[in-house]
């Protein structure tokens, strides 16, 4: 038997989580370095996965299959396609930066030593989430995927609820002590509970659909079911298929999140520390959009086509609504959260446009959104931790005192608004083109999302970075070495993928072709050619 590379990619962070958690509480720094090492080892393995993967080869590669729970018809089946490899790469890439950016986020409070902040737990939970997310990108057994999809909520929940910013929520730093501290904790646990309940309800509804799928299909193997569906061996009544599709899609739409199921995201991202917010939006939420591509379209192609108009409308609403609300935010992190909702609208629109450009663009967008949000949010986190406030109004003129910070913040902002030359532009363009060829009206309306994106990002930059220097930010230090190490590679990657996205598109295009043939959709012919 060959080396189980995919299992190893998930096992390394899982072992890392256990090892990190076992470090005695006095050796805090050692735990951090261990966590970083394990995340780098995972990145290395993800690189090996990428190297061993042949984009032109079989649809699922590096497959593993072992008996697990025979009574439920469940096997431990792994396999990756190009989309999976790309997302594993994104996850493995972002986690070291998240760990580095959160280096001091879980240190004990000096002033108030009786408060409980187990540093080891913070890093162990991050690695745990990484392990589950990676394995969920690899799972080709519906049950295995479901288990991971649900189980990853628990460490995520503790990350959101257990660790917040040092400063009180929306209060100025001056009165952060005392009463507002408790208020912040209450808001945080509210956000954590909201996150968990939304996702749990989505997941439980999916559970009903998973059971229904088993009753219809008799096993959980994605490949077997998809093959049986394609060859016509497995017929589903139209209504059954639609109900099952809705059960799955609901869970993914909560996770992604799609309007009107999005309301947990601003709370969760607002209250969590910046690295955890990145973990939510750039890593964990991708499981939702990934699962739409992998499970909804493959298992329920007819129902997917049936639901497309409604989903496109919801995606459009997400794009415009998210962007409009982002314009109105006073809190930096919530602004980024609403911007993310808008971007997830683009991703979902691209997936359900059912064109090759649309889906390639959506996959690429998942990667680029991960990198660009990470860059913007992590810099925003550094900014917030310096001032002790999340309110945009508390900043001003940072450019003059911390030019490097301001510069990186600007590049992150520009990536968020999809400036040509930066990575998100390519994907957004592809999504819009892909959507336009089939649904021109939808494509036109979605374009307004870009205009609004320019508004909220540039206004954010203008209010925080330019203008007269506020008294409180006058002594703000510029980025430290650790922070530069976090931001510089992300920005380099944004520029690189903006100019030369071919490595990623080459990886995902064959997989997108497979998915499209599942739903038996062909790209619409160009009109000029059709006219001939």
């Amino acid at each position: 038997m060959s080396f189980p590379l995919l299992t190893a990619t998930a096992a390394v962070p899982a072992i890392g989580a256990i090892v990190t958690a076992a470090v005695p509480s006095a050796r805090r720094t050692a735990a951090k370095w261990l966590a970083l090492l394990f995340s780098l080892a995972t990145l290395l393995l993800a690189g090996v996965v990428g190297a061993r993967f042949d984009p032109g080869g079989d649809r699922y590669q590096l497959t593993e299959s072992h008996a697990w729970i025979a009574d439920f018809g469940v096997r431990y089946e792994l396999g990756v396609d190009g989309i999976g490899v790309a997302l594993i790469g994104l996850t493995a890439l972002l986690i070291p930066f998240i760990i580095l950016a959160g280096w001091h986020d879980a240190d004990p409070y000096e002033t108030d030593s009786k408060r409980w902040r187990p540093t080891q737990g913070f890093f162990a939970l991050i690695l745990m989430v990484e392990a589950m997310v990676i394995l969920s990108f690899e799972a080709t057994d519906v049950f295995l995927f479901y288990v991971l999809f649900e189980a990853m909520l628990i460490p995520m929940y503790f990350l959101i609820g257990g660790f917040g910013d040092r400063a009180a929520a929306t209060q100025p730093a001056a009165d952060a002590a005392g009463g507002s501290d408790e208020k912040a904790a209450a808001q945080r646990s509210y956000a954590a509970v909201k996150f968990l309940l939304y996702n749990l309800v989505g997941g439980l509804i999916m559970l009903a659909a998973v059971i229904g799928l088993y009753v219809v299909a008799g096993n959980f193997s994605l490949q077997e079911i998809a093959a049986a569906r394609a060859s016509g061996e497995l017929e589903m009544a139209t209504n059954t298929e639609r109900l099952l599709f809705l059960g799955f899609f609901f869970a993914f739409a909560v996770k992604a999140p799609l309007w009107p199921l999005h309301t947990w995201l601003p709370n969760a991202m607002g209250e969590a520390t910046a690295p955890v917010a990145v973990l939510i939006t750039a890593v964990v939420d991708k499981v939702g959009t990934f699962a739409m591509l992998r499970f909804c379209l493959q298992l329920f192609p007819e129902a997917s086509k049936w639901a497309t108009p409604v989903i496109l409308v919801l995606a459009l609403i997400s794009i415009v609504y998210g962007a409009l609300l982002a314009v109105g935010q006073r809190d930096i992190k919530r602004l980024v959260a609403y911007a993310s909702i808008s971007h997830f609208g683009f991703i979902i629109m691209g997936i359900f446009a059912m064109t090759s450009q649309g889906q390639s663009g959506a996959t690429l967008y998942m990667i680029n959104h991960g990198i660009s949000t990470a860059a913007l949010m992590l810099v925003a986190g550094f900014l917030i931790s310096r001032r002790g406030s999340r309110l945009i109004a508390d900043f001003g003129g940072v450019q003059k005192v911390a030019p490097v910070l301001a510069g990186t913040f600007l590049i992150g902002s520009l990536a968020t608004l999809s400036l040509p030359g930066l990575a998100p532009f390519v994907s957004e363009f592809l999504v819009l083109v892909g959507t336009f060829t089939r649904y021109p009206v939808v494509g036109i309306i979605a374009t307004f999302g870009i205009v609004l994106a320019a508004l909220y990002t540039l206004v954010l930059y203008q209010r925080t970075m330019t203008g007269p220097v506020k008294l409180e930010v006058a002594k703000m230090p510029d980025l430290r070495v650790r922070e530069l190490v976090v931001v510089a590679p992300l920005i380099a990657l944004l520029i690189f993928l903006g100019v030369y996205p071919k490595p990623v598109t080459d990886l995902v295009n064959p997989a997108v072709g497979h998915t499209l043939s599942d739903v038996q959709k062909k790209d619409p012919k160009p009109e000029v050619e059709a006219a001939k």
Binding site: I69, F72, L204, L207, V215
Partner: protein
């Protein structure tokens, strides 16, 4: 009516026959015999062994008996009695088959773990130099009286709890194996009466404990009366109390009519009313809505180790009896009982989950959670397929260890008044004792059915069986109530981990290895059944066939 007329009635209806001595298959009844025998030995120990060593003697007898009985169950199962050699023993009174042996094994193991928590003597502070357990010094003394103080000072302990627990376990072993209605009723009383007593024996909050016992006794007696009345009606319907005999009459395969019962035999009204009354009696024991009213009060008032024992083992035994009744006696009546059980399952799941949200006491919260779980198990019962049986068996096994573990953790969190069961006192527990809170969080997540815990495997098995059995709507309601239930489990986790500890909050007692074992077993079973349930699913699957 004159005396001679009555006499002639007797003689004509039942001509005197030679009574044969019954044949009893002692080997197949060994588990029950060992436990009941040990209970009798326990009473003798109580009478003749000195006070100082009585505790140890009782512990020894109880643990040895339970382990030996468990070994006997394993022996019977290994001898094929769970599958090919399944048979009916003791003149048709007891079935020795897969479900019976599986449930007996589960009851014995949960009983063993529960006895460990009964024996725990390190949680309460020492009284007058004596280590004390959760049970009152002298049950007969009036709470707060001088007599009670004297009993505490003299270091009395209620070591009767061990033989009482053994009697209860003995009855529970028979309950799911009972193969005629009278044995069913006797088993019910044998395990209920010791439980009523055990409920009244709390050391702290004795008035609440006694109130719980009275409520449990009155409502329990009421439900027993229903059961007995139902038995009488079914006898009138079928002319027999044996399960197979009644099933034959229900199926219409028996044509010979007992002349004394010519008026009633085959009368469907008797069958339906009688069947419904027996169901009521059993649904009372499993705590299904609308027969659940006793659960919160009794769970709250009883000594917590007893609550854990009751919540786990009673449920196992009662669901076993319910399964046998529905699958062996009344399968021919499936189209009548299924709609009723549908209704019961739905309201049980929903009411259990919804009412639990408003609870402020951890024991009451767990009580409502156990009601909701009864609803989930009922969903599997309704499936009416072999998969349904094995899924219920698996769920019961998984659930009982989580329950005992959870209640054991409750015994650890204490303040000056004994256990601190009010939820507000659990605030910040995760910061003060991370390990205890983490363990409790594992149990709560298992209750909530989060993947990778036994709760999820069990729930999945049950819902899968229900969906395959054509009860898809039940599954949808099941997941909705799971979502509601998740809310209050998570609320407790929030309270423990994300709230600031109160300055005058409770302390977490350091238990002896006894309670530690109980909790450790609970965690281990929860995780093993969550990650690798295949072996136990196989076991339950093989055990899923009733003998008739």
């Amino acid at each position: 009516m004159s005396a001679s007329a009555v006499h002639s009635l007797w003689t004509t209806a039942a001509p005197i026959q030679k009574i044969d001595a019954p044949t009893i298959e002692y080997a197949q009844l060994l588990p029950t015999l060992i436990v009941i025998g040990a209970a009798v030995v326990g009473i003798v120990v109580e009478a003749f062994v000195g006070r100082k060593v009585r505790y140890y003697a009782q512990m020894f007898v109880t643990v040895v008996a339970l382990v030996a009985a468990f070994a006997a169950v394993i022996g019977l199962a290994a001898g094929g009695h769970a599958s090919t050699e399944a048979q009916i023993a003791a003149m048709g009174a007891i079935a020795v088959d897969g479900p019976a042996l599986f449930l007996q094994g589960t009851i014995l193991l949960t009983g063993l773990v529960a006895v460990f928590t009964f024996a725990e003597r390190r949680l309460d502070p020492e009284a007058h130099g004596n280590r004390v357990d959760s049970f009152t010094a002298q049950a007969g003394s009036v709470p707060g009286s001088d007599g009670e103080k004297a009993a505490v000072k003299a270091g009395f302990t209620t070591t009767e709890v061990f033989p009482l627990a053994l009697f209860a376990i003995g009855g529970m072993l028979v309950f799911p194996a009972a193969n005629d209605l009278l044995t069913l009723f006797i088993a019910l009383e044998v395990f209920s009466l010791p439980l009523y007593l055990l409920c009244a024996l709390a050391r702290r909050k004795r008035l609440m404990s006694q109130e719980a016992a009275v409520k449990y006794f009155l409502l329990g007696a009421f439900s027993s009366a229903f059961l007995l009345f139902g038995i009488a009606l079914l006898y009138g319907y079928a002319g027999t109390v044996s399960y197979a005999g009644i099933a034959d009459v229900v199926d219409g395969t028996v044509q010979s009519i007992d002349p004394a019962l010519a008026d009633t035999m085959g009368n469907d009204a008797l069958l339906l009313v009688g069947g419904a009354m027996i169901l009521m009696g059993l649904l009372f024991k499993v705590g299904a809505v609308p027969f659940h009213m006793w659960t919160p009060d009794v769970y709250q008032g009883a000594p917590t180790p007893v609550t854990g024992f009751m919540a786990a083992a009673t449920k196992v035994a009662a669901f076993g009896a319910l399964l046998r009744l529905l699958y062996v006696v009344l399968p021919g009546l499936r189209w009548d009982w299924r709609p009723v059980m549908w209704g019961v399952a739905i309201v049980t799941m929903l009411i259990g989950a919804i009412v639990a949200i408003t609870q402020t006491d951890i024991k009451r919260l767990l009580a409502y959670s156990s009601i909701a779980h009864s609803g989930f198990i009922l969903a599997g019962v309704i499936a009416a397929t072999p998969d349904g049986i094995s899924s219920v068996l698996f769920y019961l096994g998984a659930y009982s260890f989580v329950t005992i573990g959870a209640f054991s953790v409750v015994t650890l969190v204490r303040d000056a008044g004994g256990e601190a069961t009010h939820l507000s006192k659990w605030a910040g527990l995760g910061r003060r004792s991370p390990l205890v809170a983490a363990v409790f969080a594992v149990f709560l997540l298992a209750f909530a059915g989060i993947p990778l815990t036994s709760g999820f495997s069990g729930k999945f098995a049950v819902f899968k069986a229900a969906a395959e059995g054509g009860a898809g709507a039940l599954v949808v309601i099941g997941v909705i109530s799971s979502a509601i239930a998740a809310f209050f489990y998570i609320r407790v986790i929030v309270l423990m981990f994300f709230s600031e500890p109160k300055p005058e909050g409770p302390t977490v007692a350091v238990p002896s290895p006894l309670t530690t074992t109980a909790i450790g077993v609970g965690v281990a079973v929860t995780l093993v059944l969550g990650v690798a349930p295949q072996y136990f699913l196989d076991l339950a699957g093989q055990a899923g066939v009733f003998v008739r």
